[in-house]
């Protein structure tokens, strides 16, 4: 049995077939169940794991349609418009879905109807199956009113009125029902009978375009997979070409014959559609997976979707070698990002700010525009001028012990990471005031010094707070290292 804490006590929430055979039903308290059957195996409910499992199943259900929604704790809603012919019709698709989910050890209820609310009600409260087009209203007549998903109070008062089935309600005049049970009751009734359209809200946005291959014999050999990826990429290219677009984000979904599903994402720094380039990106990604792609007994379907597209600028055959260079660098960035993660391939972006730690940020190289890379304000001004900023910033700055002249002389010696440095050259202070509109109150002014020690090592130090005005004994920090 699986149990969960509900209200004051521990209650059964689910059980296997044995438990049901013993008469243990969800809702019973654990104490009662234990009294009946002391040898019960009890597990604590884990709603997060349940949700994760449902989403795994939803991934697997994408083999039927990319439009999959999740409802409640236990329901998947699929929009199979135009998808059923691949399975020899709706019956075939339903049977295939049932069989695949059951094969993984689940108890399945499934239905196809003209709208998701009807299908869900028929699956959960009826016998399931395929409801013929236009017969939604008819199909729900015999279902209990519980299928409407009302709160317990309204359900009880419906039953007191003798309204036990949906059919009982639809036979009544709508106005009095609306008055007594509220407008949303009528809405629910209309939804379940298919009088109003209820869209499925998909878990994920729809891809811009899709290329797909299904295999009568599941494939598992690397060479077979590579060849089908190439055809998929070529298919996708044709679609993208027609639309004048290239892909910025792609997704490759491997559907294993046993139902396991693996989704591989790849992002690009510019719109792409060349099959070989796309393939190389996925190769990088696949080679770099910590948990490699496992074909098991083979994949029976593979889908390549472009999730984000942009207008594709036709490459001019140019004489300008530097443009080719740019394209080559962009390709390299994409490949490295696919392999090591987009977050790890970085460029330095500038921010116009006085705050040293905010002036420069490492950002994913694929997402950065050329403007963000402008550090020209810090370019060397003349031949003999030394750099005023360190090549490496230690963030957060590290506390150091400093001996300095009071009130605001440069440091004479300081201790950093247990090593004492004697300062023989110092330049400063460069006063950097906090940006009052951004920083919390009480942030002090900093006086920065460039210093060099007896070994020629150069450091960037600052005193936090003006002596005597903002703080009694100023604290010192090491913020960066010069070459």
């Amino acid at each position: 049995m699986v149990v969960a804490r509900q209200g004051g006590g521990v209650v059964l929430v689910a059980g296997d077939e044995h438990a049901h055979a013993l008469g243990l039903m969800p809702g019973m308290t654990l104490a009662t169940a234990r009294a009946l059957h002391p040898a019960l195996h009890v597990h604590e409910a884990d709603p997060d794991a349940d949700r994760a499992l449902l989403h795994k199943l939803a991934d697997a259900a994408e083999r039927y349609t990319p439009l999959v929604g999740v409802a409640g704790e236990d329901t998947l809603l699929l929009d199979i418009t135009g998808a059923a012919h691949l399975y020899g019709g709706e019956e075939g698709l339903l049977a295939d879905a049932r069989q695949r989910i059951a094969a993984r050890g689940f108890h399945v209820r499934a239905a196809i109807a003209g709208n998701p609310v009807t299908a869900r009600a028929v699956a959960l409260f009826g016998t399931g199956g395929n409801i013929a087009p236009g017969c939604d209203a008819e199909a729900v007549q015999s279902l209990p009113v519980a299928a409407l998903g009302l709160d317990a109070a309204r359900r009880a008062s419906l039953e007191r009125l003798g309204l036990k089935r949906i059919g009982d309600c639809t036979a009544r005049a709508r106005a009095p029902l609306a008055e007594r049970f509220g407008k949303d009751f009528i809405d629910r009734l209309d939804a379940i009978t298919g009088r109003i359209e209820t869209p499925i809200s998909p878990r994920r946005g729809l891809p811009a375009c899709i290329a797909e291959r299904r295999f009568a014999e599941p494939i598992g050999h690397e060479e077979d997979i590579r060849r089908s990826l190439l055809t998929l990429a070529a298919d996708l290219k044709r679609i993208l070409e027609k639309r004048g677009e290239g892909a910025r984000a792609l997704e490759l979904t491997f559907f294993r014959a046993d139902g396991a599903t693996r989704i591989i994402h790849v992002e690009t720094g510019r719109p792409l559609r060349d099959p070989q380039t796309l393939l190389r990106l996925f190769r990088e990604k696949l080679d770099g997976l910590a948990d490699p792609l496992d074909p098991g007994f083979g994949f029976d379907a593979i889908r390549l979707s472009a999730r984000r597209v942009e207008t594709f600028a036709e490459a001019m055959t140019s004489l300008d070698a530097s443009e080719d260079f740019e394209a080559e660098i962009a390709t390299l960035i994409d490949r490295l990002a696919a392999r090591f993660g987009a977050r790890r391939v970085q460029r330095l972006a500038s921010t116009d700010t006085h705050s040293p730690e905010r002036a420069s940020r490492l950002v994913p190289a694929q997402s950065v525009g050329a403007l963000a890379l402008d550090f020209s304000a810090f370019a060397p001004v003349e031949t003999e001028a030394p750099p005023t900023r360190p090549i490496r910033l230690i963030e957060p700055a590290e506390r150091i012990e400093v001996l300095a002249e009071v009130p605001d002389g440069p440091p004479i010696r300081f201790r950093w990471r247990r090593v004492l440095h004697a300062v023989i050259r110092a330049d400063g202070p460069e006063r950097i005031a906090p940006e009052w509109w951004r920083t919390p109150e009480g942030t002090a002014t900093r006086d920065y010094y460039r210093v060099e020690d007896e070994n020629g090592r150069r450091f960037w130090l600052y005193r936090d707070g003006l002596y005597d005005r903002e703080t009694g004994t100023p604290r010192w920090f090491l913020h960066g290292l010069f070459a």
């Binding site: 140019s318 004489l319 260079f325 660098i329 392999r339 330095l348 090593v419 110092a426 090592r457 070459a483």
Partner: protein, 262 residues
């Protein structure tokens, strides 16, 4: 009706315009086989300079000299790359110790961050893998490779692969290692680096290095003192006899010897 050669002509025009505008003509020409560093004696012993497409191994002389070693390696990368982009492969561990690459500072050093792509690799294996991948990309000028410590993954075979990739593409590899046992690396040159007292009259001056060319010079191991001219992006000999800094009133100050502590 437009002339059939019009697109090519337009491309040519834009190429010429670009050259005229920022002097990027250098990107179009193949750089010479060796990059002169700027010190006559050193360039002579290197047969003209650092070999492009070579594997150059660098290390700090002792702990604490890592920032100087990074600076020297970046400067060499700038000499080698001509106007081409640079790739800097770092290992995530190193930043905890020595901080993150800092845009304003790199700009002031002579490396425009717009030319730089950097990778923060999770471990040494990833550092090597990313470096090898990058060394195959001809569009790059140089790849600075900076693994942390001397992990097992960094063996002679791995280094040789990098050297071969560099040789094949002509992209220079700068392999900066901190600590670990000495490997007979397959490099064209090997360097040991320390910071050198700068020549600033008041504050710290231009970046200065005390560098030993351990291998690759015609004259055997030799020590060189140099400073890096950030604006011109070239080395020059460090002014001989490190001057003592002047105090603010212009008098030469005496530096009192300090006790050694810790």
């Amino acid at each position: 009706m437009p002339h059939p050669g019009a697109p090519a002509l337009a491309a040519l025009r834009s190429a010429i315009y670009r050259i005229g505008k920022d002097g990027s003509a250098q990107a179009l020409t193949v750089p010479p086989a060796r990059a002169a560093l700027g010190l006559a004696g050193l360039d002579q012993t290197l047969d003209g300079g650092l070999k492009r497409g070579g594997f150059h191994a660098l290390r700090p002389v002792k702990p604490g000299e890592e920032p100087a070693a990074t600076g020297f390696a970046l400067a060499c990368a700038l000499r080698l790359a001509a106007e081409r982009p640079l790739l800097w492969v770092r290992q995530a561990m190193a930043e905890r110790e020595y901080g993150l690459p800092y845009g304003p500072g790199l700009m002031g050093f002579g490396l425009d961050p717009a030319r730089l792509v950097t990778i923060e690799a999770a471990d040494a294996r990833a550092v090597l893998k990313a470096a090898e991948e990058a060394l195959h990309c001809r569009a790059l000028g140089a790849v600075l490779i900076e693994p942390w410590g001397m992990p097992k993954a960094v063996d002679l075979v791995a280094l040789r692969r990098l050297a071969l990739a560099a040789e094949a593409s002509g992209v220079s590899a700068l392999f900066l290692r901190s600590g670990g046992p000495d490997l007979a690396d397959p490099g064209a040159t090997r360097w040991a680096i320390a910071a050198h007292t700068s020549a600033g009259a008041f504050g710290p001056g231009l970046p200065a290095f005390r560098v030993t060319l351990e291998r690759g010079g015609r004259a055997g191991p030799q020590e060189w003192m140099m400073e890096w001219c950030c604006e011109r992006r070239v080395f020059r000999p460090a002014p001989s006899g490190a001057r003592l800094p002047l105090s603010r009133d212009g008098q030469a100050e005496t530096v009192t010897p300090l006790r050694r502590v810790g």
